[in-house]
Symmetry: C2
Subunit: 219 residues, 2 copies
Amino acid sequence: MSETQMPTARTRVVREADRGVYDRETVHRILDEGFLCHAGFVVNGQPFVIPTSYGRKDASLYIHGSAASRMLRQMKEGISVCITVTLLDGLVLARSVFNHSMNYRSVVILGKATLVDDPKEKLAALRILSEHILPGRWDDARQPNERELKQTSVLRVPIEEFSAKVRVGPPIDDEEDYSLPTWAGVVPLEMVAGKPIDDARLLPGIESPEYSRHYTRKR
Amino acid sequence: MSETQMPTARTRVVREADRGVYDRETVHRILDEGFLCHAGFVVNGQPFVIPTSYGRKDASLYIHGSAASRMLRQMKEGISVCITVTLLDGLVLARSVFNHSMNYRSVVILGKATLVDDPKEKLAALRILSEHILPGRWDDARQPNERELKQTSVLRVPIEEFSAKVRVGPPIDDEEDYSLPTWAGVVPLEMVAGKPIDDARLLPGIESPEYSRHYTRKR
């Protein structure tokens, strides 16, 4: 599917269409700031939505099969999924209840998820996942052995059919409401990392690495 | 559906089954700390997952129809949905890549979403939604007029078929890995509110309300 076809009828933003964004650069930026997605799939007509971590490289998104075992059981050659990533940036308080909103950046990807079978490719995908969440960790930790690799399943979802939705800025009130004596504005929200908690069984003298002490998604 | 039937075959946690939680109290506590859900539904066999805010009262979860217009178009008497709420509490860094994990609390609700049609019930549901996200705001803001109420659609999802999944605590490593000179532990993550940003068109002397200055989901 070529870039110029975005959005498709399925990914076109319907509500608040002015918030729709369809360029790959914006979509990749949102995907790279997040690391938790909600993966949707269908079993016997019933939708399931499962939270799981992901990694991105180029136009591929990788998720653990482990988080999608219900989905994996029935897939042989790809299953239709929807991968949604949402970054919440703030509560938008307008003067009217009706105009309350949120600031957020979200991405929706539609596609077929396929199993990454080849062991080399699977190892590479797991490294992408790990480095996406916590750059530097892969080389510090004991890497997967053959048994662990076999136990792990990884899915690839192509980033081909997608859209983003972005809201930024202050509340937008109806003109006549601006005279109301009501506070209006934005309460910013951010995912913040706290001080790393040492495991109780650390060997003496082992200090928390830099990447765990200043963890942030903003790059 | 009676409580004692939880989990159903559809909501039983398959992977890491020891993390499955099925009591209503835990589920309500998670739902009440969150306010953003991912709503999954199916159109022509394709799953869609849309982020949207929600409110809860008793065994009812309410979402804006506005965020689900694609879904609403085709629903007359209820549509199968999956509502998933995820609270992320930390990155869990084990000594092996394989045992890396996250601390989180998530809820999955399966059910039929139905339109709240009655204007009084709709207004009550909107109040529940508003107060769920920001207690105190409803009375401060201009409340919905008739025109706005008509423009707004609200869905009710019964909290009847559900499960929660919870992981807390330190990494669990393979016994032989505890001798590795690798740091292990938890990087706590939390959604934190910043200082409220005044709207540029505030009337003179209007100060940000208490509920906007100390916003937290922990209660």
